[in-house]
Symmetry: C2
Subunit: 417 residues, 2 copies
């Protein structure tokens, strides 16, 4: 088991590496990213062997097929990781860019220079791809990362981090810019949370319990996502066929993700047309429907309980409510929504604009599937997670969200009157 002094030493090494990395050239960072991609290909067999150890242990422990799938490193996973690394390498380097340079009346030139955050603590669960994705984004942004992965992926993560450290070294960068916490003991999470002054930010990615633990214990800023109790409001003027397609995509395209659809609110005037179409499509897709009284009068659905309105199912279950107006939909979302992803289907311009403006969520969509709440889909190139807290980042976090800006001022002897 890791002891506090040992973990502190890792964090101190990360701090020193972060200082070096903050002024590393874009070329050195990109060389390291491409070297990681090359090694993922060259050392494929060794990675598969390490991954097999994890898979065998997981199988022996009786993990579900879904969890085994998430844990597996195969050729497709490695190919996707290599493509991602190449894309990150090709992205413009955010560090050192000066924004909004203006000349003040006294001649002082003032701007904001984009700089790395420092050391990021990343606490996550089973998928070993996250090890590489998070490290690559942090490296591009000039941050050091301290990784605490799940115990199921221990051998895979150790192999991946070893490979990335070798790539850093080849590029002339400090190996300690990417480090794996040397234990999967749960106590290491608490210890990381208490390393204030050494970690600038903690990003927890995983279940509700993990995220709440980190939010409660951390003595430094945390960027976390709450669960996604996501709604689609089908307005009176919506195209019912298009709305069914959006609901179906939102619910069934990958039901276990936090940007999946959990609730449909439908305007009473379109409900008699829309709901039977929705019911048919959802039944065909194996989705269980629950509904309020008005819904149950129109389609076969189980009566919804009060808990249904606040539950993130992450499963093939959808709860439906008939509302009298846009206002009622907005009130319902303000009360039950989790600030994650909210959508409207409408052909009424003013309703679209009002929904967009008034709904408080990390992504608000008009006539599109909530499944688009993803860094790649929204054009960030990649993401390290989705933030549902409003400070610093709200929504998917890419390279830019892993940096900050400091003020810079260029003078010629200016003093204050």
């Amino acid at each position: 088991m890791v002891t506090s002094p040992e973990l502190k030493a890792y964090a101190q090494a990360a701090r020193a590496a972060a200082r070096a990395l903050s002024t590393a050239s874009p070329r050195a960072k990109n060389t390291a990213l491409l070297a990681i991609a090359a090694k993922l290909e060259a050392q494929q067999e060794a990675l598969f062997a390490a991954n097999r150890q994890d898979l065998e242990a997981a199988q022996a422990a009786g993990l579900s097929k879904a969890k085994l799938d998430r844990l597996r490193l195969d050729e497709k996973v490695l190919r996707d990781l290599r493509t991602g690394l190449q894309q990150v390498a090709e992205m413009p380097d955010p560090v050192g860019e000066i924004e909004g340079l203006q000349i003040r009346p006294n001649g002082l030139q003032v701007g904001r220079m984009r700089v790395p955050l420092g050391v990021i603590g990343f606490i996550y669960e089973s998928r070993p791809n996250a090890t590489v994705e998070a490290s690559a984004l942090c490296l591009k942004a000039g941050n050091a990362i301290l990784l605490r992965g799940g115990k199921e992926a221990w051998h895979s993560n150790r192999a991946l981090v070893g490979l990335m450290q070798a790539a850093l070294q080849e590029a002339g960068l400090p190996r300690e810019a990417i480090q794996l916490v040397p234990t999967t003991d749960r106590s290491a999470i608490l210890e990381m949370c208490h390393l204030a002054g050494l970690l600038d930010l903690i990003i927890p990615r995983g279940g509700k319990e993990l995220i709440e633990l980190v939010q409660r214990e951390a003595r430094m800023p945390v960027l976390a996502h709450a669960e996604g109790v996501n709604h689609l409001f089908v307005d009176e003027s919506a195209d019912p066929g298009g709305a069914v397609q959006i609901a179906l995509n939102g619910k069934t395209q990958r039901p276990s993700t936090c940007n999946s659809l959990e609730k449909v609110l439908v305007h009473q005037r379109i409900a008699p047309v829309f709901l039977p179409m929705l019911a048919q499509a959802m039944q065909k897709a194996g989705v269980e429907l629950r509904g309020d009284e008005a819904t149950c009068a129109l389609i076969p659905a189980r009566p919804a309980t009060p808990e249904d309105w606040q539950t993130e199912y992450l499963d093939l279950i959808l709860t439906v409510k008939v509302v009298n107006s846009l206002e009622e939909a907005l009130e319902h979302i303000a009360r039950y929504g989790s600030h994650h992803t909210e959508a409207i289907c409408t052909n009424h311009h003013a309703h679209a604009m009002r929904f967009l403006r008034e709904v408080d969520a990390s992504l608000v969509l008009v006539n599109a599937s909530p499944r688009f709440n993803d860094g790649f889909q929204l054009g960030l190139g990649a993401e390290i997670g989705i933030s549902t807290s409003k400070l610093h980042a709200y929504g998917p976090m890419g390279v830019k969200e892993l940096t900050t800006t400091k003020f810079v001022a260029l003078g010629s002897g200016q003093v204050r009157d």
Copy 2:
């Protein structure tokens, strides 16, 4: 004394007000700002009377002249507040602005819409002007504010908040957008820190003890400033006369502020010329000099103790060290600096650029006084405080720093493959 349920009711009222304010028109908000300015003039005598109650109590309690000065509302203070309110009203409204709208390959239009943070808790000490300045910035940004002022300013703050609430009402906005916590009991600070889910952000402004208390107790994000252990590095190539003027301005223009100069590092090659000039200017200004061995060999100065390198004096004391190189200066600042304000005097372009890039502080200056670390001086129009934490805001926080962005996506039926 305030009880928890009562304070919670204030925060809940603030939340409801924040929702209304988030969609208020720029005109309504600006009308309220200008109405506050008009009432500050019209109700001047009533404000002076309330302020007199505070001043008399403070005098009876034996407060220092400096503290009485900070507490006093006079014609000049009110005039400055009115000017500030007019400037904030004239600033462009940040809310609703969409940044970086791009069309994705599938036709989805994606951008980021600037939105208010919600409810801000503001905990501050004696100056009653801060009551109006902070409220005005929050109102412009579309946030509700819950103010907890110091007990010395109780009557003044109550009069100012009453006046601002009347102005909100005249403009058709909810009075609860600006509220004063109905007690100055210290327990109210702890209670505010525990109102997670009701306050989106706490900004503490005051002494180190207050800030550390809030950082330790708050269950929501905190934007705070650490003390300013601010350095000026006088490089070999600096203009010694200009460097003396910058040091003098940094130290003496208003020594009690966090952006004042506390340490001078001087390159050994320029020390024999620069230090006697510095000593003469500082002695004339009544500044006590402390120094390392090399400094004490060149000018009259008290030998510095190890504590001197990490102390924010906020007083007419300055500690000086002779260094061998830019590298040594950078190391010293990385070790002892507090990420607040750091400056270099140099005529060497590469040294200026390296200092700017490598020093990690909320403002890094070349050839200018550290006293410029101030929202108005840096062109933000006004500030609610200076953040020395890197998340969300680093440096002075103006209207924009009191907002965030959410993602918005405009589609025409897009779903994910």
